[in-house]
Symmetry: C2
Subunit: 407 residues, 2 copies
């Protein structure tokens, strides 16, 4: 019999049983997008590195003087010996240029009362205005970015500003994808009308790629129990994660489960009370994590996305692995069995969400997947029209016409 745990229980059973990796490598930042930091990154320098002007204007030492003699011009990038300045003097200074230590205030040109070649006249202005003080943003030695953070373009900007071009990142798991079904044709093969293509391996590999994971397509599992046991034996010493699709429900020949058990797999569960995706088994075989997903392409894809990806992120040392959902209004009514959990496909666009074809698609309909861009996970309850739902976009992406301005 299949287990009857809820989708949420299954999710946490997987997450709680994942031990994050400790394997590190050194990465040049040019290639580090999507990697996870294996150590805290420490600031190498203050930011700003030196006190500098936030405007094009005139720098001076705040005093009672309103008429100031222009004694010098300082451009961004100018190097000079620090110097003192008198109360009735000022310097012309450009944005980003280093401020001599005697100067505490900068006034932009357009705020001056009078501007001449030799002198300026200034109004009242707050001491300290328009100067960025050395170290006010970041102090050398402090933690710049925390271990486990994903390296984004925004983080690469920060690393570049610190002159940090090499970071330690976690090594991602080695992943194998297998399929069952000797009758399946590969997409690059010719197929008769009564033959069907292997979709799962390619769809899951693409999903992994998009999320920063690589995977080897191993092909089709041998068709006897004995050979399958041997096959898995070989693979488990080479891979951190083995993903299979199909052959795990009770109508199927049962030897996938059997062959994993014979390889000392400890199942976390076999069977989730979710539609679609019920025949799913997750287990641990020595140090290899096994995700035995359904044969139905929609079911296996949804469980790979909702259940497996967060687990792979945790395994890879990421500190963030819960989906960051979006609140969106449910645009059209649909019926579902309130005694089950459901993973439901739909389109999230311009802040609203609409279920795909009133939730009347079958779990073999790949057009439901390609026409959707998001998922709603509903646990044992109904959904009503206009309800605000928590939606998980596959990718927030772009739209044909969204007015994204707050005006």
């Amino acid at each position: 019999m299949l287990d009857k745990i809820s989708f949420k229980e299954a999710f946490f059973k997987v997450i709680d049983n994942i031990t994050p990796t400790n394997l590190k490598k050194s990465m040049y930042i040019d290639r580090a997008l999507g990697e996870f930091l294996a150590e805290d990154v420490i600031a190498k320098r203050d930011a700003p590195a030196f006190s500098n002007s936030a405007m094009d204007g005139f720098g001076f030492k705040k005093s009672e003087n309103k008429k100031l003699k222009v004694i010098k011009t300082i451009y961004a990038g100018d190097k000079y010996e620090d110097f003192e300045i008198k109360n009735d003097e000022c310097v012309r200074i450009m944005t980003g240029a280093k401020v001599p230590s005697g100067i505490d205030t900068v006034i932009p040109i357009e705020k001056c009362v009078e501007v001449n070649e030799d002198y300026i006249v200034i109004p009242e202005i707050k001491k300290g205005a328009n100067i960025r003080i050395k170290g006010e943003e970041i102090k050398k030695g402090e933690i710049l970015i925390k271990k486990g953070e994903e390296i984004t373009p925004e983080i690469i900007a920060l690393l570049s500003s610190q002159g940090i071009v090499n970071v330690k990142t976690f090594i991602k798991p080695k992943i194998a994808i297998l399929s069952t079904g000797n009758e399946l044709k590969e997409p690059f093969e010719e197929a008769d009308e009564d033959e069907i293509y292997n979709v799962n391996s390619y769809a899951i590999k693409a999903l992994l790629q998009k999320n920063g994971f690589d995977a080897d397509l191993i092909g089709i599992i041998p068709d006897t129990l004995e050979k399958t046991i041997e096959f898995i034996q070989l693979l488990k010493n080479r891979y951190d994660v083995i993903i299979t699709t199909g052959g795990i429900s009770f109508g199927d020949a049962d030897f996938i489960y059997e062959a994993f058990l014979k390889n000392n797999l400890k199942p976390l569960f076999r069977g989730i009370m979710v539609k679609p995706g019920r025949p799913t088994m997750v287990g641990i075989m020595n140090k290899t994590y096994v995700f035995a997903l359904p044969g139905n392409p929609l079911s296996s894809y949804l469980n790979a996305f909702a259940l497996m990806l967060p687990a792979l992120r945790k395994l890879s040392g990421a500190n963030k692995y819960f989906y960051n959902f979006v609140y969106a209004k449910n645009k059209s009514e649909f019926k579902l069995n309130p005694n089950k959990d459901h993973t439901i496909l739909g389109k999230f666009e311009c802040g609203e969400w609409e279920v795909y074809k009133n939730y009347k698609y079958g779990s073999s309909m790949l057009s439901a997947l390609s026409n959707s861009n998001s998922l709603v996970i509903v646990s044992k309850r109904e959904v009503i029209k206009e309800e605000i739902l928590k939606v998980i976009p596959f990718n927030i992406g772009f739209s044909e016409n969204c007015d994204f301005f707050n005006d």
Copy 2:
């Protein structure tokens, strides 16, 4: 003088002046993630390719008979000559197995009144139940995926199911990134305390990479007008897009603008009334698009994201290039000048949005960028606490703890 157009005007001026590419290439789907389709993809086969059972159960021809003799078992992948079936007969049939043309209904095992080796007894059941009819989802010859769609893992699933492994995609633009400021050090160089690093080139290149664009880092623009004119002359024949940072505001030495003009650039605008990011010029030079972004790293990054990326998508033939925003509650109050447009950084998490440091960060603070994951564009108005804002996530991503279940 800098122009005073609004951010929204600037956005549409750029978008409306982009002519999408027509250059196509042939791509194997294994490498096509993030590419844009250059032609409609036509369905090569019906889906389902043949009528098949949606359940493990018994297939029969619906009649008055309730006791049916089991004459045969059909497994998924079985090939056989089509055959007729009598009203008192049925076949044992597995999920996905081909249904002979005489059979119109399948009943799952668990719904049978009685199941024996030789015969079954069935209750009343709707004709047509649990059969997936050939072509009910997709008809051979129909448009499967539209020109301009981005290739996602979900689309790769659909293509695989059709045995389509090669598609025509648009060739992405060749992009050059230049910087100004001879005083800048590259991040991999040693720098004194009073020297600063080139951030813009690396940040923008990473942003482009993350969004499926490649770019060449050309380095620093020569420091005389004459040499700069020649330099641009050479580049414009090699690149579809030239991105520069810095040297475009009025406090700066002005020769970037001058050198582009001498190369027959037609500016769309120079200067946007937005904070940060005012000194920004976009223009067209023969067939090359020029984005002259501010020198300030935050400003150039925000304009690269909000203004340039959508334009690059349109240029690449994408049919979706407007940001797909998210509605989110504004968690904390902040003040802004209601007479300007603003691009404001903050964190979007578990459906809510919080501005970074009460909007009191400077436009040189890269930690504002690395600690944010989203942008709010506000056009000439105030923002109040608890207001529902349109938020553009850089990437919807993951969180440390979001409860994304609808339970």
